[in-house]
């Protein structure tokens, strides 16, 4: 395998493109959030298709609008949102490895569905890894996202095989609307009526969302008091005093004072991340994970 140093030039950064990996663990003691892939399943698929480790850093693209080029040949694959990847006159789909040659411009069309697209490379990102992760999270990293004209140093390792035109068929798991959840620590404080509503009605995503959390539209009227600040995680569903549900996502803070009524499974967090504002989901309550 040849190894050489080169760079990615971000010509157009789009609304929110960053480097992400599995995230930071072990620094919650100092209030440092996990960060990491919004949709860890798609990032894992992209990485595994290239023979990378599932948690290797990827380029995470929100909503499209990205244009980039590289100065060394590299094998790439995209996964996640449904998008066309244009290189010169050619169009590649997700799950279809392709070679990007020096000088060629890669552009992404607006996504047909989904929100987050991942690019895995046969290359390593030379970006700082404060607290053992390359995931962008300001102010732990110096920026939260790329801007037009940014450059990233890469260590390219062009493998000694070239991709064919094959595309790996993976069932589009992102179409599922049902999110598997466990009861949160404060779930049992809700009225039976609210518990039923929560687990049988559908909830739509509002446009109030970012890497920290996603607010849902339909309120749940309740009279639960706030709680003393307690641990929260990506996938924790908080109930605000006004009845709004907030699903905490990857950049969420590590403690919170709102009742924690549900906890999404890892798979459900990735699934929810790919839903757009206006789309709706249901919560499918799983039995307690283990006896106590």
């Amino acid at each position: 395998m040849r190894l050489c140093k080169g760079e990615i030039s971000i010509i157009k950064a789009g609304p929110f493109t960053s480097v992400q990996d599995a995230g930071r663990f072990g620094y919650a003691d100092f209030g440092i959030p996990t960060a990491g892939f919004m949709d860890a399943i798609s990032a894992g698929i992209a990485n595994l298709l290239l023979g990378n480790q599932a948690c290797a850093p990827c380029l995470e693209v929100f909503a499209g609008g990205l244009a980039l080029k590289i100065d060394q040949p590299c094998l790439l694959v995209a996964a996640g949102a449904d998008a066309d990847i244009q290189v010169g006159g050619q169009v590649f789909r997700t799950h279809q490895p392709f070679t990007l040659k020096p000088g060629e411009v890669l552009k992404i069309s607006p996504f047909r569905s989904g929100q987050w697209l991942y690019f895995a490379f046969t290359a390593k990102f030379e970006v700082p890894a404060p607290f053992e992760s390359k995931s962008f999270y300001f102010p732990i990293t110096s920026k939260s996202r790329f801007h037009d004209g940014d450059k990233v140093v890469m260590h390219f390792s062009m493998p000694e095989y070239s991709p064919t035109n094959c595309r790996v068929g993976i069932r589009d798991w992102k179409l599922f609307r049902s999110l598997e959840v466990f009861a949160g620590p404060e779930f049992h404080l809700l009225s039976v009526y609210n518990q039923e509503t929560l687990t049988h009605k559908s909830f739509s995503l509002s446009s109030m969302q970012n890497r920290l959390g996603i607010q849902l539209n339909e309120p749940l009227e309740h009279n639960l008091p706030e709680i003393l600040s307690s641990p929260v995680f990506p996938g924790t569903v908080q109930l605000t005093p006004s009845g709004k549900l907030i699903v905490l996502m990857r950049d969420a803070q590590i403690t919170g004072g709102y009742p924690r009524i549900l906890q999404l499974t890892e798979t459900s967090i990735s699934l929810l991340a790919q839903k757009r504002p206006g789309e709706s989901v249901t919560f499918s309550l799983l039995p307690p994970p283990k006896p106590t």
């Binding site: 620590p185 307690s230 499974t265």
Partner: protein
């Protein structure tokens, strides 16, 4: 009476352990050696432990060879009770309470009808206990604020509260480690840099430590602010 502590699985790999509800040092001092003991004895299974006032949540790695047995964890907690708690420290943090760097001290003084000098005394003559970090990297949850200083958070948060701001929100006081939006009332500013992620500097304070705020003048504030290597006075309790 409920048995203590209580256990709750939030997910396959998240186990919350709760003690009697409340913000008190006694619970914190019970939890700290247990946390240290669990981290030491389950180091291959645990990703991390997150703390609240009276709860901690064990975050296990997704793939571990042996399933976690609650009885083992209960046993570890029992064993931890025999372990001596690590030494605690008392830290002295310089704070300038001048309205030149603390934009809410005058309005707070008038709305609470407490003269500024008295307000400063009330805040700086107390000792605060560090319970845990949260909200922002390096943001301390401190217990021990005088009841006279309890102040509801602002209805509309300020778009920017500057790094180093010492503020009051609800029953709590704390220091903003970095510029951030926030709804707390800023009554002072410390020249000490709590958190510098680019230099990978972690705050030196650990849960269980005590914090005292020492009033300094505006001149001293500006002089100390330029010293990036400023170290704090501290002693073992």
């Amino acid at each position: 009476m409920k048995k203590e502590p209580e256990f709750f699985w939030l997910s396959y790999n998240l186990l919350e352990i709760s003690w009697k509800e409340g913000i008190n040092e006694e619970t914190l001092l019970k939890m700290l050696p247990i946390k240290a003991y669990l981290l030491k004895h389950l180091s291959t299974e645990l990703r991390e432990i997150r703390m609240g006032y009276h709860r901690m949540t064990l975050h296990f790695k997704e793939f571990i060879s042996e399933p976690i047995d609650l009885n083992d964890i209960m046993q570890l907690i029992e064993n931890a009770e025999t372990v001596k708690a690590p030494p605690r420290k008392r830290w002295y943090i310089p704070v300038c309470y001048s309205s030149d760097v603390a934009k809410d001290i005058l309005p707070l003084s008038s709305s609470k009808r407490i003269p500024v000098e008295e307000l400063v005394n009330e805040h700086s003559q107390r000792e605060y206990v560090l319970f845990f970090y949260g909200f922002l990297p390096g943001f301390m949850y401190l217990g021990g604020l005088s009841e006279r200083l309890y102040t509801p958070r602002k209805a509309v948060p300020d778009p920017i509260i500057q790094a180093g701001s010492v503020a009051i929100g609800g029953h709590q006081t704390g220091i903003y480690p970095m510029d951030s939006p926030g709804g707390w009332h800023v009554i002072g500013r410390t020249p000490y840099r709590l958190f510098d992620s680019l230099r990978k500097k972690m705050p030196p304070f650990l849960p269980g430590d005590r914090i005292r705020f020492c009033p300094i003048s505006l001149n001293e504030y500006y002089m100390l602010r330029d010293n990036t290597e400023l170290s704090l006075d501290h002693e073992v309790m």
